[in-house]
């Protein structure tokens, strides 16, 4: 029983039946203000052209006009679902630039918070992807658990989405045991609840038919488009910045980088589902081995790094974020480049959507896990 769509579709067909379909900027399936101009033949997509920039804020110019500290709240505004990773990336980049030390306890808390945030982001993706496939319940099923993570992070940072929590040289204030206990009880509970997620969706035959062999990213394409993150790992590369260039305290923890080889939506799904487990492993280890001590090292009040340049790579929930800073020795960065993962990941969409059905194209878009303000910056 084969239910896959015909894989080859004659794209060379030229007649007057083609029409242009504006998918977005306001469309339930594009997760934000993304517009894709589609050339369609019936339900088949002949050509897709993403149009970006609806949420463009010129973050890089803003950063040039601000001190390093003032920039801190702004970086979180790019990827509001993985704000902790952005926060960490900026803080680590400036620390690398200035050569600040970070106490071990602070590093552990950073890892815990970032991994919790990664789980929250993946949960939202899980719900939104299934919403793209037309299932409504997973969205709010994921929200019940995401809400608990946000509660924990709100307890830690005082904010639910754009945390702005890490500071140069550590954390703003001491972390109490209540946070660690709540984290552990959440992780223990979520390990059990994850089974429900699999029961509801992973085994579902409709879900399988919708995501298997849909939107296959070949390994050769992955390098050409500079893909990173779970999307890349679904195509067979075990590339994870946490493993390859460990930052914070990731080299101390034992975890594996889940990979799949088929490169389709199902592979990307499975990778992310496995990352829940790995994140929980990391959190457990980090909580169990957290040392006592200060959470902030001595750093000067005014950050004035030496001349030079630095590139800091961080694995956000969506892939590899590289913050490239050129410093001219003043209080403000001379040039900041945010190499955001969604941007590169979205660029492959036009290629994947060619010759697909409209429904599949939206499933692919969902499986790429976009945050449009991050793409636009």
């Amino acid at each position: 029983m084969s239910m896959a769509a015909p894989l080859t579709y004659t794209l060379e067909k030229r007649d007057n039946d083609n029409f242009t379909l504006n998918l977005g900027p306001q469309h339930p399936g594009t997760h934000g203000v993304l517009r894709v101009v589609l050339q369609m033949d019936g339900e088949y997509i002949l050509h897709a052209d993403p149009v970006l920039g609806y949420g463009h804020r010129m973050q890089e110019k803003i950063a040039e006009n601000m001190t390093y500290l003032q920039c801190l709240p702004y970086v979180c505004r790019m990827d509001y679902l993985g704000a902790m990773s952005y926060n960490l990336a900026w803080v680590c980049a400036v620390e690398r630039l200035c050569g600040f030390e970070v106490p071990e306890r602070a590093e552990h808390i950073r890892v815990i918070a970032t991994e919790l945030n990664r789980m929250a982001s993946h949960l939202l993706w899980w719900g939104a992807y299934l919403l793209d496939l037309g299932a409504f319940t997973p969205f709010l099923q994921a929200f019940t658990d995401r809400e608990q993570i946000l509660d924990i992070l709100e307890y830690l940072t005082g904010s639910r989405l754009t945390y702005c929590y890490f500071r140069f040289g550590g954390l703003p204030d001491e972390v109490d045991d209540v946070f660690l206990e709540r984290t552990m009880s959440f992780v223990n509970g979520f390990r059990k609840r994850l089974k429900n997620y699999h029961d509801l969706v992973t085994g579902n035959v409709i879900f399988h038919h919708r995501s298997k062999d849909v939107g296959v990213i070949l390994p050769f394409d992955a390098a050409a488009y500079g893909l990173t993150g779970p999307i890349l790992r679904g195509s067979g590369f075990a590339y994870d910045v946490r493993k390859q260039e460990p930052y914070a305290a990731y080299e101390r923890f034992d975890f594996i980088v889940p990979t799949e080889t088929s490169g389709d939506c199902l592979a990307r799904y499975n990778v992310r589902m496995e990352e829940f487990v790995q994140s929980m492993n990391i959190i457990e280890q980090a909580v169990n081995t957290i040392p006592e001590g200060p959470v902030r090292s001595k750093v000067p009040k005014t950050i004035k790094p030496p001349r030079g340049e630095v590139a800091m790579a961080v694995e956000t929930p969506r892939g590899e974020l590289v913050i490239y800073i050129v410093s001219d020795g003043s209080k403000k960065p001379y040039r900041v480049k945010f190499r955001v993962p969604s941007f590169a990941n979205l660029s492959v969409f036009a290629r994947l959507a060619r010759g697909q059905l409209l429904a599949d194209a939206l499933a692919i878009l969902g499986s790429l896990d976009m945050v449009i303000p991050e793409v636009d910056r």
Partner: protein, 149 residues
């Protein structure tokens, strides 16, 4: 063999649907997670970041802020305007006006951290709404404090 797989696939697929339906039924029988605000209230976390407030001095009840302007300089959005002057006979300045443009504030808390005397703190007000936007463009944070002037 093909027929066998065909039927097996159908049965397995059907079973997977039933498993999914079991999960939603379990959901239905469990308690909803909604907190029905405003009839119920969710607890505010201790580090909740509302808009900032100026704290009074314990001794004098005057504003603790002495209008050094560090917060205004450090604010990424430039939403704080503060000025102060010396009350008669005092050695230090005291703030006589402290305005927050809450429409631009991003609640990052850099001002609270950078204050050298700890005169700023987050308030615990969250249900802020008004018909007049100007009220939030110029929030007078010294309103509830005793003024030495």
């Amino acid at each position: 063999m093909i027929e066998c797989c065909y039927i097996k696939d159908i049965i397995r697929g059907f079973a997977s649907l039933l498993v999914g339906m079991r999960v939603t039924m379990q959901n239905m029988l469990s308690r909803p997670h909604t907190v029905q605000w405003p009839r119920e209230e969710a607890p505010l976390p201790p580090r909740f970041r509302g808009h900032i407030t100026v704290l009074p001095d314990e001794m004098t009840r005057y504003p603790k802020c002495f209008a050094c302007g560090t917060c205004a300089r450090n604010c990424p959005s430039g939403c704080i305007t503060v000025s102060g002057k010396k009350p008669a006979g005092a050695r230090k300045k005291v703030a006589n006006s402290f305005f927050l443009d809450f429409t631009r504030c991003s609640l990052c808390g850099i001002c609270v951290e950078s204050c050298p005397v700890g005169a700023l703190d987050f308030s615990r007000h969250y249900a802020l709404a008004d018909f007049d936007g100007r009220k939030f463009q110029e929030m007078d944070l010294l309103q509830d404090l005793v003024s030495p002037f």
